[in-house]
Symmetry: C2
Subunit: 328 residues, 2 copies
């Protein structure tokens, strides 16, 4: 910076004013300084800037995996919106989903240069984390149960699941089978609870669940069991990938979809429209979830506003051929 100042024939402070866009600099001087910056390839040192200002303009995202469509799409949206607000994103992967792993990640985060944290963790390990959080750092939680400790942003998974099950009942099925996600997943638990709730309200018996792990392979295994039951005519699968496996299992067993069995998935991943047959599923608006995360975090950072409780992003059922004749 001193070099730039010298070259432009001004003081370092004036260079600072130009680089931060402060007013009160003569247009001619500004051009002079910008010119000198260009010439010397000057880049402001963000560490010094952060040190001086006491903020990093960075948001930390702590998560288990990017391998699920939902997580990666949400992170992408967070990054995009954060960038728009002049914030960068720091990714903190928790390698091992154990309490130690979480603690380690949070410890690293504590030493990290972030102004706020988004936690994307579907499993029940958040409890361990409280004390480790650097005090005073705003937090937003996605896809997990934060109690009332942190604001939560999430898709309205319960409503989506209700729509799915109701849709199947309205098609005339006596009841609806369910393939769950992993047992330690909150999303899975909420989808299953909503499924059970709708069946109860309709006075229908809730068959025993099959349990999967989100993967297509696990869906296939669950689907084989369900395909063997002639009384199973409607299946609500907790995500689209497992639904893919279920479809294959039904196909191999000679049970036609949707004529013999109707299938509904969850997530509306892009591929779902190209399954055989195209999958009826619940659409999740991940970009919106990401946007609301950033918004909630920035509210805390900038306006020191009180956490806004839980923000639910709407979900909606997309009817395709796996539950009936082509909708288009």
């Amino acid at each position: 910076m001193a070099d730039v100042a010298r070259l432009a024939g001004v003081s370092a402070q004036t260079v600072s004013r130009v680089s931060t866009g402060h007013p009160g600099v003569l247009e001619s001087t500004r051009r002079e300084v910008l010119n000198a910056m260009q010439q010397l390839g000057y880049r402001p040192n963000s560490a010094a800037r952060a040190l001086k200002r006491g903020e990093f303009r960075t948001i930390g995202v702590i998560l288990f995996t990017l391998a699920t469509t939902g997580n990666s799409r949400t992170v992408e949206a967070i990054a995009a919106h954060a960038a728009r607000e002049g914030y960068a994103i720091t990714l903190i992967p928790v390698a091992v989903p154990t309490q130690d792993g979480v603690l380690g990640a949070f410890t690293r985060l504590g030493e990290l240069a972030v102004d706020g944290i988004v936690v994307i963790m579907e499993v029940h390990l958040l409890d361990a984390v409280d004390l480790t959080l650097p005090p005073g750092v705003p937090v937003v939680v996605v896809d997990s149960d934060a109690g009332d400790r942190y604001p939560v942003v999430d898709a309205d998974q319960a409503e989506g699941a209700r729509q799915a099950v109701r849709h199947l009942l309205e098609l005339g099925h006596e009841t609806v089978w369910h393939v769950t996600g992993p047992d330690d997943s909150f999303s899975s638990a909420r989808r299953a609870a909503a499924w059970r709730e709708v069946l109860d309200q309709a006075g229908r018996p809730a068959p025993e669940c099959e349990h999967g792990d989100w993967s297509a392979e696990s869906g296939y295994r669950a689907g084989r069991k369900l395909a063997a039951r002639p009384d199973c005519t409607a299946i609500f699968v907790a995500n689209d990938q497992m639904a893919l496996g279920v479809l294959r299992a039904l196909h191999e067993a000679g049970r036609r979809v949707p004529e013999d069995v109707s299938v509904v998935g969850f997530d509306d991943i892009p591929d779902a429209a190209s399954y055989m047959p195209p999958l009826t599923t619940v659409h999740q608006d991940w970009p919106e979830v990401g946007r609301r995360c950033v918004q909630a975090l920035l509210e805390q950072i900038n306006r020191h506003a009180v956490p806004p409780g839980t923000v639910l992003v709407p979900t909606r059922l997309i009817a395709r051929e796996s539950t009936g004749p082509a909708a288009s």
Copy 2:
């Protein structure tokens, strides 16, 4: 830090020594200091640390999208390995894949606190970027043509595509059709070039390509055209998602896979094993790509080593039922 020093009854410098793990501190003193840290909830300020040390222990990752399996898996691996080395990951999304968008992202990166940069960009926009890169910052490029300006890490896509096409020829097909990815994609271009190369070497005519955009939907459109050609009996699709669409198109046209048409994909996404039929495809080792990225970058950062040219991570064909009877 001063507070900790006061509470522990030592100087700030001793606190610093403890927090950086420097030797030459009496065990009793060290315990005292750690105790005081705990009590006061002291966290080293990373901005000040970075300012003093002149390094951020952060790697910037610049990319277009996390929506593709390859990108998100690669980023995940980069983050995991970087974390292991004590580095954090900063994500820089390029919202608009235009030259301006790239320049904007690189400008942001220039001001950003990173010790090195991984560029994950499959399109041809890298050229514009040279001048904007902060000079002296190590760079590694993935999935793109960096010429000889930067070291490149990538999966051996050409070899994977060759294996795929050879496999189809060995099954006795007269020639192999091809569905490409988007025109501006390097991966797509390399896979297509390798496809053409094998056909040429075998003295087979190369049919005209169908062009997709990586999406299952575009694969479906391409598949409909190919399904209408009775002479098309073998298709190499440039990624698994498009292959999903191709499979559906063939199914709807009444052409059986693999009896009438053999199909090979690329990527080996987890779902591919659950397609109907399970898809023969080329496995890419994204975790390894991520690992090598970090390794190449750290070599530059720590040892100021010369860029190691191009690192190719092996790929391999996974034969499944879409090209023949069940392999298992």
